[in-house]
Amino acid sequence: MAAQYKSIHPVKYYRDFLAQDVRPDGRTPDKTRTVTVNANSISTSDGSATVRIGNTTVICGIKAELGKPKADEPESGFVVPNVELPPLCSPCFRPGPPSEEAQVMTCFVAKATSGMVDLKQLGISLDNLAWVLHIDMICLDYDGCVQDACVIALSTALRTVKLPKVDYDEDTKTPTVHLNQRTSVDVKSSPVSTSFAVFDEEIILSDPTAEEESLSSARLTVVTDGKSIFSVHKPGGSTLTEVQLQDCISIAKERANLVNEMIRVAVGSVKR
Amino acid sequence: MAGVLLSEAEKTFILHGVQSDLRNDGRSRQDYRPIELELDIVTHANGSARVRLANTDVLVGVKTEIDVPKPEKPEEGKVEFFVDCSANATPVFEGKGGEELATEISNFLASSFASSMSFDLKTLCIIKGVQCWKLYVDILILECGGNLFDAVSLAVKAALHNTMVPRVETVAMDGGNVDLQLSGDPYDCWRLDTKNMPCLVTLSKIGEHFIVDSTAEEEECSMASLVFSVTDGGRLNSLCKTSVGSLHPHTLAEALKVGVDVGVRLNKALDQALAREDRRLEADKPERFGFLK
């Protein structure tokens, strides 16, 4: 019976639940889902992580390659993050070039994590050679807050990267790679993103599922490391009061501390 | 494949024909239709061939170009197969209709020629890690009357046999740049070793039997077909099932024997035809005169 009711009138179905201050999956409106972090799950990559938030699953793999630096920044390397929403993660996506949503998400994740690595430490030889970190985040299960999972996965994967030592011979213009001597990348900050959905223009749902996201009237994403705020992203929709915003930020800060601790434990448990 | 519509009665007729080893056009199960082969018919290509297998018509041109070898294989040249299913061949190929078939054929050819024992890409190397030859094998399907794989492979092998790769006379290294000097004489060329290159044989299963060289109508009746890529020496270079339907392992093992047997015979027939064409072309070769000789 409940299933039919839900498919005929999903908004009313949610309203009935929220009137009792509970969500259909049993959470209270301000409760976030369990996060699991698994570091270094892919051995063919130079660094990787799998992150699950409830059902949402994102796998992030980093491939390091060697390339020529840009002419205007001869001492810097590259970080190339891309979010992919392949058709296998949800029926909403079709094969082919990235959907608009994937492009928006790539932009968001790239901006949120832009300060994590100092690009200068990726330079090897001035104007000749630098590291290129291709960071690919692939969504395997699209059940809301994929951008949050992407940021966590990227942050974890980046901490597992071990780059081999490279000598560059200026005369012959050939690099030599020493696979046995590896160093980690210095990660400067640890942003964690937490998303919220506004339902019926007043109730705020923390960490919404895909269904809740589609029924919401506005969305909000807060990126913080537990102390300072990196970004607050609220793209239009219904309005929020200052108090509501403050509430969201404090939830996000609390969660950021928790998640960063999880990342630390996950990365620490990796033996290589 | 091609849009041939057959009624149940027609299908049964073909099936019975195959059972009694007398097909619609009078052939037995292991007979090919007459094959016509022409070499060197595209003047601008380095090598070309046209094969007509009853109603199936295929034109193949080979172009050579100088390229940079892949960094992981610095000693090897490159070869690329490209299949174009012309909309003239059958209305099914209109628009993007032939694309899937085209990728299937080109991929299968690529994996058939992948083994260095059949086609040693090292012979295409000019300077290790710097310059190599790249062969573009363009396959144009002009008409589609069944058994496309076999016809294409015959034409490809013939065209590669016919391919003249210009001889490099001098190489000058100037810092990082390479200066190649090709021979001025257009007839000063070398040819590829096609001895071990494979031919494809398609076996289609109709009823309890396998037949070779099926017509478009017979393909419509077939539940399962296998493509073998067989070399002169009876070795298998590639094998794939190309249609819906499945096979019992025993049937498969039997088909293997038939496929290899037919493949060896096909290779032999092609070699003879190629030698004959070569002699004809040699006789037609223009006499050279003048001070540039």
Partner: protein, 278 residues
């Protein structure tokens, strides 16, 4: 290279660092060969398959899904509800399978492009041909079932893993089927047959080191209950006797993995029922 403004682009040319490693790589290949001829690196027997891990229902948004591990080879597949075949004017008597096989960019030793390349297209087709005989396609005329396969990590045998995975995902999606499909791969180098080769062994099997030596890879997919081979795919160069020998071994291994897939499916059905009963 055409520029892609829908993704963030790195520099135009970048190459994997493995190419420049100190010491000659060719030496490794040959020493690896002699090692393989005596015993395998992961101390398996020559005819022993790696351990298999199967799980269904891994993607919550999909109608059916499955995840397969052959040790380091990891493959995920999801299957969606049948939908009308797009851009098709004429009526099709049989339902169609639409398969997309993709390697994740970080799944192989060298980075993969985001777009499907020729090899992935070939494997997509192989996968489709392997599954078609097992699906009752007459039950959904003029409709297609979308099957998406992603290889998360490739350590050899990714096609075999993909076929097994997709077969389970189809069953998990309640698509009517005649039988489950399981697959296995085998590498040949010289007179040695290597069941379920890892990536390193696969690349060994692709290069002959002596004249007239058998070498290559074979993948076979089998419907266990009917003993029907749904797909056979061989590359390299070998004698017919070698192929039929390999075929017998592969059919045997596929038959051995079949009950594992069955058990996995039964478990998922039992789980669903017990969840409903609660």
């Amino acid at each position: 290279m055409p520029s892609d403004n829908r993704r963030i682009q790195g520099p135009e040319v970048s190459s994997p660092y493995c190419l420049f490693q100190s010491g000659n790589k060719n030496v490794d290949v040959h020493s690896g060969r002699s090692e393989v001829l005596s015993s395998r690196k992961d101390s398996r027997k020559f005819m022993e398959h790696r351990k298999i891990y199967l799980k269904t229902g891994v993607v919550s948004q999909a109608k059916g899904s499955a995840y397969v591990e052959f040790d380091n080879t990891k493959v995920i597949c999801s299957v969606f509800d049948p939908r009308e075949i797009p851009n098709r004017i004429e009526y099709s008597q049989h339902g169609e399978l639409f398969c997309v096989f993709k390697f994740a960019p970080f799944s192989c030793l060298t980075r993969r492009a985001h777009q499907q390349d020729a090899q992935e297209k070939e494997l997509s087709l192989c996968l489709k041909r392997a599954l078609e005989p097992a699906v009752c396609r007459h039950e959904f005329p003029n409709f297609q079932v979308d099957i998406y396969v992603m290889v998360l990590e490739n350590d050899g045998g990714s096609l075999a893993a993909a076929i097994t995975c997709a077969g389970l995902a189809l069953a998990d999606a309640h698509v009517p089927m005649y039988d489950l499909v399981t697959a296995a791969s085998l590498g040949v180098t010289g007179d040695k047959l290597l069941m379920d080769p890892v990536e390193e062994e696969e690349s060994l099997c692709q290069n002959p080191n002596k004249e007239n030596q058998n070498h290559g890879l074979i993948t076979v997919a089998l419907m266990g209950a009917h003993t029907q081979v749904t797909q056979m795919w061989q590359t390299g160069s070998m004698t017919a006797a070698c192929v039929s020998d390999a075929l017998t071994h592969l059919v045997q291994i596929c038959e051995e993995t079949y009950p594992i897939a069955q058990r996995c499916l039964v478990k998922s059905v039992v789980d669903t029922i017990s969840k409903k009963a609660q």
